[in-house]
Symmetry: none
DNA sequence: ACCATCTCGCAACAGATGTTTCATCGCGCC
DNA sequence: GGCGCGATGAAACATCTGTTGCGAGATGGT
């Protein structure tokens, strides 16, 4: 009988097996990933056994041959359909209107755990080196793009532009220059606008940084840096943008850090100007 | 040059590849686990391409052959040797530019934990009952406001307005009517614009919902509902908006849930219209 | 309209794969 | 001690692997 959990079947059958088969079985149990990926002969060499042993082991477990066992091992290792999110509430109870917020917040918190910092720092390097930075995000990602645009302008006032931010976007896309950096933000389903922005940027010779929800995203094609976030679909609602925002913010912060003293100086200048214009209310804590 | 992150190399090289190689590359990117485990010929059959295509793809990426690429894909999927060796960043190390993103993401994840769901659901009730909803957010909160505005309009197209979204904001503020709901988003330091929006809304007899970072926030004065979020200040940088975004999204979702069948119908209509306009790219997974 | 170049499927290729056979070995039993 | 039987490894086997040479077709530049 073919088992759906090969390693369990293996362990169960272990005591009744001849010595060499036992050794092979233990080796497979301890290196199941290698058993699934490497060839039988390589495995035999690593385990110090004969290739035939592994065929016999598989047959002893009820598989037609080694290929059968390996196929089962592979299926065990196959990642779940949902990329890197723990399903939030296992028992999907009826989504009462009252606990929708709780569910969503829970999902958001979980999605932030999957973000990686290293690629963000690398992407920030590309932005830092670019003479001009364009930011593109459309529809639901527009807000995120605007935010990134705003934060970057705090310390790089003159050379950051939001695609489609001041007039028709084709004018912006026509102004792209080689060496500029383009940041495109999007997730499935991907808007045509975002794809066009990415494509045009590539053709113009820009350095492309993409924030997306999947490595296979169309807008990610040709990107120099791809920053993945999880657009966790809420309970029956549209996807969450928290991961995208956190990524964008981290990108801006890293960029600022790279800017060093000049960036800090420009940020201070911006703050001083805002204070002079009385854009913000005075902090009652410090003014009293 | 052989890349250590094969999918990234693949994505980068994609635009410069011939059509069939592009198709193969996309297929590999979307099914990287199968590419790592199944044989090249099986893959070719599944992708509807010639086996040779995959060899050529690997070579185009700088690998000696398909085996090289597959080995790289396998290494990408290999589980970490020590399962739960989550490196915890030692507290208050020197804030290197490289680990700024990590710090920020960590802070974001922590800040989401403090959010409460119950007030959000209550506030959603107020929005749901209002004949018209205004959303106000300025400067760094503009993006958040825009996002909330966008999401609400998905299922309540006609009666949501962004203050200052289409022309001078005083015109919007002049149009406020008693019974309308006003959502104001802001955190310290509070912009004069946001305070004015809140004040005017109160005077006009609107129901005021405020998203802020402190109970003592000026813009929260007189608010019917106050949704607190944590604007965690990053390492030497401006505050994080993740909490505000998560709150806004949860608010929109709760509002949608309250809308019941009509809201769902309007959302479906919106989606159908977008699909008809081909605003979004078709999902390759379902179309093929 | 021409030609050079590139693309790409087909089919033959050498090599590697998993399997099987077979002779040998070790071990317990009569 | 002789015998039978399962375990074991080496080698031969058919099959499948990834690769490459070839030619038809498409493409782009002049």
């Amino acid at each position: 009988m073919v088992e759906d959990q090969p390693i369990a079947a293996l362990r169960r059958a272990l005591p009744g097996l001849p010595p060499r088969l036992q050794a092979a079985a233990r080796f497979v149990a301890r290196h199941d990933f290698d058993a699934a990926t490497r060839s039988m002969r390589e495995l035999a060499a690593a385990a110090g056994a004969s290739p035939a042993t592994f065929t016999r082991l598989a047959q002893a477990l009820g598989y037609a041959g080694w290929d059968g066992l390996r196929a089962a091992l592979i299926e065990t290792r196959r990642p779940p359909a949902t990329p890197f999110s723990r399903r939030v509430s296992p028992a999907s109870a009826p989504p009462t209107a009252a606990d929708i917020p709780a569910r969503l917040l829970e999902a958001d918190a979980a999605s932030l755990g999957g973000l990686e910092a290293a690629p963000i720092a690398a992407a920030a390097g590309a932005l830092h080196a670019a003479p001009r930075i364009w930011v593109a995000g459309f529809r639901s990602c527009r807000g995120i793009a605007q935010l990134l645009h705003y934060q970057l302008r705090l310390f790089r006032p003159a050379d950051i532009a939001l695609v489609g931010g001041a007039g028709p976007e084709d004018l912006d896309l026509g102004a792209l220059a080689a060496g500029d950096a383009m940041v495109v933000i999007g997730f499935a389903p991907y808007s045509r606008q975002s794809l066009r922005a990415a494509r045009v940027a590539l053709e113009a010779g820009c350095r492309l940084v993409v924030l997306a929800d999947a490595p296979a995203a169309p807008i990610a094609e040709g990107a120099e840096h791809l920053l993945l976030f999880e657009a966790a679909a809420g309970p029956g609602f549209f996807p969450s943008l928290t991961g995208a925002l956190a990524t964008a913010q981290a990108l801006a912060a890293a960029c600022f850090a790279l800017g060093g003293e000049p960036a800090l100086a420009r940020l201070r200048a911006t703050e001083a100007r805002l204070a002079a214009l009385a854009e913000y209310l005075p902090d009652p804590e410090t003014s009293s």
